[in-house]
């Protein structure tokens, strides 16, 4: 069965027809070619597929694409216009080596954005709770926590909101 889906992704309107069996993460990657959203476990455990739905982080592998009709989505592509103009959170991850293989990074960055939007100066404990839904199998989390602490410092006084959009 096919279903029409109208979504706004990174402030750009899309209108597509999807198979009702398609999950949101697949729609973003295969239909909209926004491949920054990764799929790890596919069952809601790892957080690699984290996107923002109406301004709140969700796991896009646990949402049917057809159910996203009429909603507003921000993916990692919405945070910066390119490698030379990274979001301050992305800068902090680069500067503090908050990644190794990078597979979990888009989800980590979006969970950081969510955390710092609600809590601009989180404690280490609050940071660890904030990224509890994002698994990293490389770093042991130390440098990720440091990256988030540095991002919080560099964002002081500035809104931790998506800064750019494509199109």
């Amino acid at each position: 069965m096919k279903a029409p889906v109208k979504v706004t992704v990174n402030k750009k309107a899309y209108s597509v027809e999807v198979d009702t069996r398609m999950i949101l993460a697949d729609m973003l990657r295969d239909e909209l070619r926004l491949t920054g959203t990764h799929i790890g476990c596919g069952t809601g455990s790892c957080g690699a597929c984290t996107v923002m739905l109406n301004g709140r982080t969700v796991k896009s592998c646990c949402i049917l694409a057809a159910d996203a009709d009429g909603q507003e989505i921000t993916t990692i592509e919405g945070l910066s216009t390119g490698a030379q103009h990274l979001h301050p959170i992305q800068e902090a991850f680069v500067e503090n080596q908050g990644l190794q293989c990078g597979y979990c990074t888009p989800g980590m960055v979006l969970s950081t954005l969510q955390l710092l939007t609600q809590n601009p100066s989180p404690s280490e404990d609050e940071i660890r709770h904030g990224i509890a839904g994002n698994l990293c199998r490389c770093t042991g989390y130390q440098f990720i926590v440091k990256s988030i602490q540095e991002a919080a410092k560099s964002l002081q006084g500035k809104p931790a909101a998506p800064v750019a959009n494509r199109g």
């Binding site: 596919g42 809601g44 957080g47 709770h129 509890a132």
Partner: protein, 283 residues
């Protein structure tokens, strides 16, 4: 991509949704937050013919109150339960329980109605629902009925919901002024289901006391511990509570997270912890 074909409906009105459930009966599966249903469909463990999403029905997302009762719409997300002022004031242990559900992303999408209707034996809400005396409103195209949580939870992921019926509202009596309450759980990794969980409510002056346990039977279990606490919370009372918790856990199951004896032993520990914590909060 989910392998099995299904028909998808996303009504915007509750009446329209209830008509769909009436028409398709047992073939229809209700999609609330989807935090359990969508992965189960992806894994092929559930293959419903019809999926009816309730995510576009705004009238089921609310928290309000009347004189004695909190009323929570079934599509209220866990993140709202965790932070809502009315819940913090009149049923703080429900907010405590919500803070343990999944992780940030899961709490943004998952719903209280979905969790309660899913009836996982170690879910966070059921022990709380039992100790506060919650009831659920079940609606269908033909009418509605209100069922006490003790009667709603029937067994392992089994509830009193009939084909065509939808859980639309959770009704929670406000805790009496000055009551102490607590919810705690044992888990190895944050975001996982609890191995054992427990909730307690103690009325001011030890007029009544109830204990709820999860993870130690097919459903959450309610234990009246009022008689144990008539003289307050002392060592003897806590030993009694511990024995009650152990006895109530006689049907505990074992899995990779812990065998039955371990769960029963932990039921003793967590029963005492929540009772002590609840007593310390009596106002």
């Amino acid at each position: 991509m989910i392998s099995q074909e299904f028909e998808f409906h996303a009504p915007k009105q509750l009446s329209e949704a209830l008509n769909l459930l009436q028409r398709y009966g047992d073939d229809a599966k209700v999609l609330a937050g989807g935090m359990s249903l969508v992965p189960l469909m992806t894994l092929g463990l559930l293959q419903p013919k019809i999926v009816v999403s309730f995510n576009h029905i705004r009238e089921l997302d609310y928290v309000n109150e009347d004189k004695n009762m909190l009323r929570i719409g079934a599509m209220t997300r866990h993140s709202t339960i965790k932070t809502h002022q009315l819940i913090a004031r009149h049923c703080p242990l429900l907010a405590e329980a919500a803070s343990y559900v999944g992780d940030v992303q899961v709490r943004h999408r998952g719903t209280i109605g979905g969790s309660v209707a899913h009836a996982d034996p170690a879910a966070d809400y059921p022990p709380v629902m039992l100790v506060v005396g919650a009831q659920v409103k079940l609606q269908s195209a033909k009418g509605e009925r209100v069922v006490k949580m003790t009667a709603f939870l029937k067994g392992l992921m089994q509830t009193d919901l009939q084909p065509g019926e939808l859980l639309t509202e959770i009704q929670i009596p406000k805790l009496p002024e000055g009551s102490g309450s607590s919810y705690q759980r044992l888990h190895r990794v944050e975001g996982n289901f609890a191995i054992v969980n427990a909730a307690a409510v103690i009325e001011k002056g030890f007029k009544s006391a109830r204990l709820g346990l999860g993870g130690v039977g097919e459903t959450a279990i309610l234990v009246d511990i009022g008689k144990r606490l008539t003289k307050g919370v002392n060592d003897e009372a806590l030993r009694g509570v511990s024995d009650d918790a152990y006895a109530a856990s006689h049907d505990a199951y074992g899995d990779l997270n812990g065998d039955a004896e371990y769960r029963k032993a932990m039921a003793r520990v967590y029963a005492q912890r929540v009772v002590k914590a609840a007593a310390s909060k009596i106002g």
